[in-house]
Symmetry: C2
């Protein structure tokens, strides 16, 4: 009945990490997998043919952004998102809940995914601005959420049913139910009320998905989203509630607290309550040190703007803790004839020196952004290959140690 | 003795167009050829591997820009321009004369290549700003030219000998002698004096090139530049003077008047005086209607920013006079499911609709610039293939008619 077929093919003996194979209508995703962010129906600066060569298996686009521009009807008319953006592989679409949060509490309180400790990790949007107290563009009611477009100020309305329809028009393989993302600055009471509403929305989204156009369930899978902020009882309650419904998979969303430790806790409370036979997605996390943590906790897929956004800022990923990156714009790279990473097989490392990249960034040349993004995406794709192999061979801990040394 | 070997393999019976094969130390250029502009050691947004796939045979980089940043010594230290920018094929470097002109008379008078009739055709630089009368950053004397860097205002000095040394350090296959570009607003007397100085500089450049490091002449070719503004006697005098010297090829530079008709005249006066056995380059011209005109007048290679710069503005080349372009940002393309050009084999046309490109430009997405540039470069590269074939088959006139209908 589901559009997905998920098979677990190896289990790490020392953690909850698992290796799997997620069959979607547009191809197989070997898991654990990094999902590249293509918010506006493009991974910034990278052509689809290149993504495939980099080892990227699946993209996530954004319902909020695509609804506002160019509109899901236009994309449907042009054959759906895969054809529109020229990417034949698996696609997810995010429900827009996080973007609406960004316009509301996020904008008001100046916070992103894990409070604002990791500013570069404000994911799933890109338009989260500095705090503007009292400046919420969003009104949430029982039926849905009203907000104004960040593009032209036009009034917009998202409901759980409407967002399913939008995502049907877009045609991604995996779609997400509309949720309300709370902020770490929201108190327990607000978070509880918001969670209960998110659960009612999840039921409405699922009912709409199941009862209208039932044949569409062959070509699209619907994930439910576990919310509950950084509150243990709410996260557990949410995991129990959402998994009691017939979703095709589960995502963990919303605020993951205000520290990496809290993020790990949220996963420790939540993931064990998710059914092991269904795929699990973590929304908006993917720094290199985090990847080992989340994979060990049993996450199958995750999306993150880090490799693409950092790349465009000149931060190039390397296997060197604690930051796992070099800032290529630093003067020390001006005469550096070496590639970014000596063992990297990406087009950038195979053809260009750090000095050339330093020059391109200094000259504000377009090719800088592209070559940096190519390297960062390839680095994540290769890390995931290593992780999958390590899980099969029971060597995940060794791999993690090698990346931490 | 020359680093070049130029062979003419066909001659159009109805014009001065000729088809040739220009062997350089880094590969063969089939002529007539379009030379893609890579001012700062990169064709904006396009990776070298992609350029080769597009059918681009040769690039032109800029001595002025590369001297200021990152400096020719750094590029030499990193193995020269070919290795630095990862392009294994033929490269030309422009001498910097035009850029210095842009900072001087060009900046003062607000004029570019063909006065300012075709604003998009201000080539060979990209930093030509609006007119700022009295605001010349340049002082020319008999020995050379002093100016201030447009990057940091630092004092700079170019001499004919120094520019040869810079270009040796860069290591392009074809290098150009330092010239003074006059403006169409300069009077006859100034233009004559400037031309005589340019001729003395040309002799100094050639002498320096021949007498120092004679072995370098195996790996680099030096072109002399014909100047003389839009004055018939000066152009003819310059062509006679420059061709009386042992340059490996000849470029036509400077102001080409203030109309297309004047540009054609300049070529009609000049090209017949160039020795037929040596290659001829036209600096900074390359709009589609111009290409037929210049090829018919016997030009072998030409460089122009038009396809790349127009692409980044959303102007996509198509075979449709008089403009040979569509502006993809126009609302009429919002729902247009067709490729840019139905018969185009480029990656962009093979994979994406006009509607998708319209979306990418509207969303200010990086991929827009790249997909547009890919199409425009491929369009020029294919046009040149057609032109070369038509010359061989005596059908250049028919081809021109087909492109004008």
């Amino acid at each position: 009945m589901s559009a997905l077929d998920f098979e677990i093919i190896a289990q790490d003996p020392a953690s909850n990490a698992r290796r799997g194979r997620l069959k979607t209508p547009h191809g197989v995703i070997e898991t654990p997998a990094f999902v590249a962010v293509g918010t506006q129906a493009t991974v910034k600066g990278i052509a689809p043919a290149e993504l495939a060569r980099l080892g990227i298996q699946v993209l996530i686009a954004n319902t909020y952004h695509l609804h506002l521009r160019p509109g899901e009807e236009l994309i449907a008319e042009l054959g759906g998102l895969h054809r529109f953006m020229g990417w034949p592989g698996p696609i997810m679409t995010d429900s827009g809940g996080f973007q609406v949060f960004s316009l509301g509490a996020g904008l008001e309180q100046g916070v992103g995914k894990v409070a604002s400790i990791f500013p570069e990790e404000n994911p799933r949007g890109g338009h989260l601005k500095a705090a503007r107290p009292g400046h919420s563009l969003v009104k949430i009611d029982e039926e849905g959420v009203s907000f104004r477009s960040h593009l032209d100020g036009s009034p917009q309305r998202f409901t759980p049913e409407g967002v399913i329809e939008m995502q049907r028009a877009l045609g991604a393989d995996i779609i997400l139910a509309l949720d309300e993302c709370t902020s770490p600055l929201h108190d327990y009471e607000y978070t509880r009320r918001a969670l209960e509403r998110t659960h009612r929305w999840a039921e409405r989204a699922l009912r709409h998905f199941q009862e209208t156009e039932p044949q569409a369930r062959q070509t699209q899978a619907l994930y439910g989203i576990v919310q509950g902020g950084a509150y243990e009882d709410l996260r557990r309650e949410s995991a129990r509630f959402i998994t009691a419904h017939e979703f095709d998979g589960f995502a963990i969303g919303g605020s993951l607290g205000s520290s990496k430790a809290q993020m790990h806790q949220v996963l420790d409370w939540t993931v064990p309550l998710l059914p092991s036979e269904k795929p699990r997605h973590l929304l908006g996390i993917g720094a290199i040190p985090d990847i080992f943590q989340i994979v060990r906790r049993g996450i199958d897929t995750f999306d993150c703007v880090i490799p693409t956004r950092l790349g465009r800022m000149g931060h190039l990923l390397v296997c060197r803790p604690p930051n796992y990156r070099i800032n290529i714009t630093n003067a020390c790279f001006r005469r550096d004839a070496r590639p970014i990473a000596p063992d990297c097989d990406c087009y950038t490392c195979q053809n260009f020196s750090r000095a050339y990249l330093h020059h391109l960034f200094g000259a504000k040349e377009l090719l800088a952004l592209r070559l940096a993004t190519v390297h960062n995406l390839r680095t994540l794709a290769k890390l995931m290959v290593q992780i999958r192999r390590a899980i099969s061979e029971g060597e995940l801990e060794e791999l993690q140690r090698a990346w931490s040394a």
